[in-house]
């Protein structure tokens, strides 16, 4: 507290009728305000020459240990639920939803072909992959970004997580059925071209051509600002 405040206090004892009334008025204004209140907005309601900063300090102190605190937002003040009670204002609702066909397909490709890049997924599927669908799979906890392929554009490589194994009751990723088993169950037809293969999935360590992700790498394309033509020229 600076000298001026001390002076003001000396003139106006801490708990004088006037100071107490100012405190109540400021309290009411802060409570009713639709957005954080600039102290000067309170001036017309307070006694002449009221020490705004001091009043705000006293209120802050008063609510310090309460369920609501007086907090400073920029130059303005507002009452807000105490931080440790923030959970009171959050409710969680879980909704069970079947995975979309696109998401299932992408997840299946990631499972078999991992580590796999987005453009490789697109090669297998023949259609573009929306980032949203990958996000859903990552949100579900079944797919993760493994690293970045050491190739032009350094694309992110995707793979499955231990939760994926859990979800589908697999002991290891290698338990995914191979070509012959898929044929055996009738999921793949018998008449496949001779060069048709099903890869052996691997959800373990990084491959030689993969770099680890930096901690702050959010998986965005590194070269989104360049057109494909630029890429072709560059490499």
């Amino acid at each position: 507290m600076d000298q001026e405040n001390n002076l003001a206090e000396n003139n106006e004892p801490e708990n004088s009728e006037i100071v107490r009334r100012n405190l109540r008025v400021l309290e009411a204004l802060l409570f009713a305000a639709k957005e954080p209140l600039h102290l000067k907005e309170a001036i017309p309601f307070l006694s002449d020459g009221a020490d705004l900063e001091h009043l705000a300090e006293r209120l802050t102190e008063k609510y310090k240990h309460a369920g609501v605190n007086l907090v400073k937002r920029g130059d303005a003040y507002a009452f807000r639920t105490a931080q440790d009670l923030g959970f009171l204002l959050r409710r969680e609702e879980t909704e069970r939803k079947p995975l979309s066909r696109a998401a299932l397909e992408i997840m299946a490709i990631i499972a078999y072909h991992q580590p796999v890049t987005r453009s490789e997924i697109e090669d297998v599927r023949g259609v573009a992959t929306s980032k949203g669908t990958l996000d859903v799979l990552m949100e579900a906890g079944w797919v993760r970004m493994r690293g970045r392929r050491r190739s032009p554009g350094r694309p992110v490589t995707y793979g499955t997580t231990p939760e994926f194994l859990d979800q589908f009751g697999l002991e290891a990723i290698t338990d995914l059925p191979g070509l012959n088993e898929l044929k055996g169950t009738g999921l793949l037809s018998a008449n496949l071209p001779p060069d048709f293969t099903v890869p052996a999935p691997n959800d373990g360590d990084l491959f030689d051509n993969e770099d680890p992700l930096d901690a702050d790498d959010d998986g965005d394309d590194l070269l989104t600002e360049l057109s494909h033509d630029d890429l072709d020229e560059q490499y």
């Binding site: 957005e35 069970r96 299932l104 997840m107 995914l176 999921l187 071209p193």
Partner: protein, 263 residues
Amino acid sequence: MVQNADQADFMQDVLPKMRGEGIMYVDVKGYEGPLDLLLDLARKQKVDLANISVLALAEQYLSFIDTIRERRIEVAADYLVMAAWLTYLKSRLMVPHEDDTDEPTGEEMAALLQFRLKRLEAMRDCAAKLMGRPQLGREIFSRGDPEAVVTDRKNVWEATYFDLLRAYATQRERQIPAEYAPTQRTVWSLQDAEDILRRLIGEGADWIPLHACLSKYIDLPEERTTALASSFTASLEMVRQGTLELRQTQAFGPLLLRRKRGL
């Protein structure tokens, strides 16, 4: 007619609002029906409603209605019903009460009117008292910036192992380049068939089964259908031309042909 000074003032207040061409209704602006008008008249008596002269009030009301009717202002039905009731009340009040009727006495009727006036006035006071209270949003305020409860929607995704494998298999199969080569088929033209048939039956006069005579010309089984169809059609044409005879001894039996005799 009794017309005290207050009422004269009152007429001055009200009537100008009602002047106009032709007929208009007196659901007079500012009056909420006959009871409201009566209450206003009663207040002009400047006494407590409990001590009001109901007789005087009835007369004031009736004279008011008469006045506006004289001015060819049509009065809304509600007001006329009240006027009729008040006329009756007046007569009951002035004629001595007969004990043996079930009709309410004039005093009872007057008390009822007083009650209704008092009740209406009381409700108006109540409304005023309510509106005079500090009101939410005017003098009393709720939290201006309420902190909304945020609902975190969490999706639990469902997928089965079978869904997963089927999704993989289906799309892998979808991407197998389908090798489509249209099969080149030998088609016998009708002319070809006719030439062949002519050679077959030759000069002989015996019946020959059609399929038997074709078989030596046909190497590939795929060609059998087209050969049969073309030669059958050709044979019919030759029958029409009178160069060939056709015979089938039973349904689905062998088709026999021979050169037409006498040619």
